[in-house]
């Protein structure tokens, strides 16, 4: 076990690949592939214009809000363009200009009324829905904390990789049964995943395009976010904040597993983690004590 000393992250990954045999055949195949190829080979590409495939339990709220705003915006923009086109064509240099300062009470009232109507419909819709979406879903951490199924995850971002830490069977972080992965986050289907994240060096941003959420990983501060996947499969995790030369390669893979497969994977990984645990390897113990409430 001498080899474990120089870099625990790599060793844990190595052991995960060796110990996959009891996991069902599909996963074995995956693990074998991931030995030979970069992990992203398993992610399915998107096609066409528009949003990436939504696999989240609540992302449709964001999609709906964007799409309804598209409708309002297209209406407003078409009106503006038509207005300009008609004016320059019809009211051209041969048209006698209408002398009007537009400052009569009537003109001002009309202008203010149009602005108010647009504001209350378009901005009002955005505001009301955004507040409700945040309070009920995206920033509703009470709901996630109260759910007994919730999986907690600590993420440490650094140039240019994502380290993820699962608490293991004891439910406590920074202990010897913690599972630590590198650019590889596995989560159970239909389960809230409560993430707390920080960074070691510079600011990164944890971005799940297929789940419509992101959160900055900031050195010296622990941020939080949560998501819940509703479809099995493999998805890209990206870095959204410029973080240096290889920002474009700071990519990880999110794998959504059926709950029982996830549990099996957890058991194996945790056993392995305990075997490979080295109390002297300080850099491996980057986790922190989980705080539920801020």
């Amino acid at each position: 076990m001498q080899a474990l000393k120089f870099n625990s992250f790599i060793c844990l990954r190595w052991s995960s690949q060796r110990l996959t045999s009891p996991i069902p055949v599909r996963l074995v195949a995956l693990a074998l592939v991931s030995q030979a190829l970069p992990a992203a080979a398993a992610v399915k590409p998107e096609s066409g214009f528009g949003l990436p495939h939504d696999v989240s339990q609540n992302g449709h709220l964001i999609d709906w809000l964007m799409n309804i705003t598209h409708v309002f915006n297209i209406i407003l923009f078409v009106i503006m363009c038509a207005w300009m086109a008609i004016a320059v064509v019809k009211h051209n240099r041969n048209y006698p200009a209408h002398y009007d300062h537009g400052s009569s009470k009537h003109s001002v009232t009309v202008a203010l009324a149009i602005s108010a109507v647009i504001f209350f419909i378009v901005d009002g819709n955005l505001f009301v829905n955004a507040i409700s979406d945040l309070d009920k879903e995206f920033w509703n951490f009470d709901k996630v904390a109260a759910d007994p199924k919730t999986v907690r995850l600590e993420i440490n971002a650094h140039q240019w990789a994502w380290d993820a830490r699962y608490a293991g069977p004891d439910g406590k972080f920074n202990t010897e049964d913690d599972i630590v992965t590198w650019n590889d986050i596995k989560v159970p289907l239909g389960t809230p995943i409560y993430v707390q994240l920080t960074a070691t060096d510079v600011i990164h941003s944890f971005y799940l395009p297929n789940l419509r959420v992101k959160m900055d990983a900031v050195p010296g501060q622990i941020n939080r976010m949560w998501f819940q996947a509703k479809e099995l499969g493999e998805y890209d995790i990206g870095c959204a904040q410029h973080c240096g030369t290889h920002h474009y390669k700071m990519k990880a893979q999110l794998t959504v597993l059926p709950v029982d497969q996830y549990n099996q994977w957890q058991q194996l990984m945790s056993k392995n983690a305990q075997r490979g645990y080295d109390p002297d390897d300080k850099t491996a113990h980057w986790g922190w004590e989980w705080k539920e409430v801020y």
């Binding site: 300062h101 979406d133 510079v202 959160m215 410029h242 474009y248």
Partner: protein
Amino acid sequence: MDHAAHPVDVHPEPTTFIRKYIFSTDHKVIAKQFLFAGLVFLAVGGALAMMIRWQWAYPGTRVPVFGMFLHRSGGIITPATYQSIFTMHGLIMIFFAITPILIGCFGNFTIPLMIGAQDMAFPKLNMLSFWTFVLSLILITASFFVQLGTAAAGWTTYAPLSTNIGTPGLGQTLVVAAIFVTGAATIMGAINYVTTVIRLRAPGMTYMRMPLTVWGLWLTAILNVLFVPVLGAAALLLTLDRAFGTQFFIAGAAAVKGGGDPILFQHLFWIFGHPEVYILILPAWGIISDVIPFFARKPAYWYKGSVLAMVAITILSAVVYGHHMFVTGMNPLLGKGFMVLTLIISVPAEILFLNWLHTIWKGSNRLTSPMLFALGTVFVFGLGGLTGLYLGTIATDLYLHDTMWVVGHFHLTMAAAAFLGSFCGIYFWFPKMFGRQMHEGLAKAHFWTSAIFITLVFCGQLLAGFAGQQRRLYDPYQYTFLKHLLPLNQWTSYFAFALGFSQFLFVINFIRSLAVGEKAERNPWQIGTLEWTLCPSPPEHYNYSPIPTVYRGPHEFNNPELNKALGRDWVGQAEQLPPAMAPASAKPAAGGAKS
């Protein structure tokens, strides 16, 4: 109004070449100096943009033409070079192209001329402002030639990436110093503009008779005076972190002990940075708010409403900066507060749009080149404004934050609108600045190519962002979910190259017109503001002697009674009409308070 007529100390006109053209205190000469410097750096920033577009269309392949600057890597853009390219593209365009053209050039040229002053309030400070700006140009140019290359932390210069942890080397330090120095130059200019507008308006030039150009530039100057010092503070603290081992912005395992706060830098940066986007667009709004009525041959619709809307936006711009930081882990309540304030900006923006649209409605619209550029500005700013709604709202920003959607949005507002607005001003004032006419056909060709391609480029970016593409990726196709965007990004790049090439229409026109353009008459556009009615083209030293008296607002067109009496559709701001000819109708024109 006693003080308003106060003339500047009249020195004799300089005769030596150096005092006349190099170290000049004449606001008109300084304006031209800013214009030339700005245009040169606009070309540099544009060239950098073309390199970014090449990289996204043909990742990792040899760059044509500009490849010669990349001889160390055999003409290809490396990841390290790439981050310098997009960083310097942003910084150069914002601080060394748009700022000198819109604020340095038009601020200097139009403010004294349009308010009836002989020069700026502090002509020597004005000269110092330009030469301080030149110092920052030297610093920024030098940064390209030092070891490890120039700055690479993005134009936002977020710490700790911008500290030695992320970008070691002299280049980033020189660039941070250049930002500090150019900030000092901006503040000197801004103090001058603010004071000049308050103190040196000609008699009768009340605030509500000022051209909207002057309003836009004045509000910009006020924002500059208030918020550029904050940027200066951030740049100074960052310099200390880089050069003297302090840890204001360094935290995490990278910090040896204790630790500062990376988010503090973002607060400082965006307290400046959000007003900055209005600093860049307010002058363009002002210019087009004047140019549209000038060529619609109609009074500006609800002049006072436009002024109030610009004032409201100026105030709001100072309290919405938090929308840049929704995903930094900001307190949810604070985030929601910033969201409300951000959305409120829609109201004054809608008033401005309605006023522009009402002005051209039932006008006698002449599609001259300045008018086309003004309407083009309205078009792209409309797109830019509407796409900003998604980013001011936290829920949708969770997905779109730091994607190409943001890039498309702020390019439509800050880049496309400021770009078209700048050219609106250049084509409009060129005859007055240089005494020659530009070629109208080339100008119109320049408009149509620029407006169409710039819209296509930034809409391509919006589409890529909607599909999820993050900003600032050297090779977006590393991500499986972005692989299918290669054709889209290639088309966007082709449009960008077409946009780049079409700028030669301007270069040719500009040089041709400077050299052999037709001599401009005093008032080729037939409008009533002071510089066109009272000054020859170009104006004489000290502009006005004696200082004129102003009787009405700047957009008095097609007043039925005056049309009959004068036989033309416009009347000068300082034109004194015999009492018999100036009935009650002359009065409402003063600020357009009533109609």
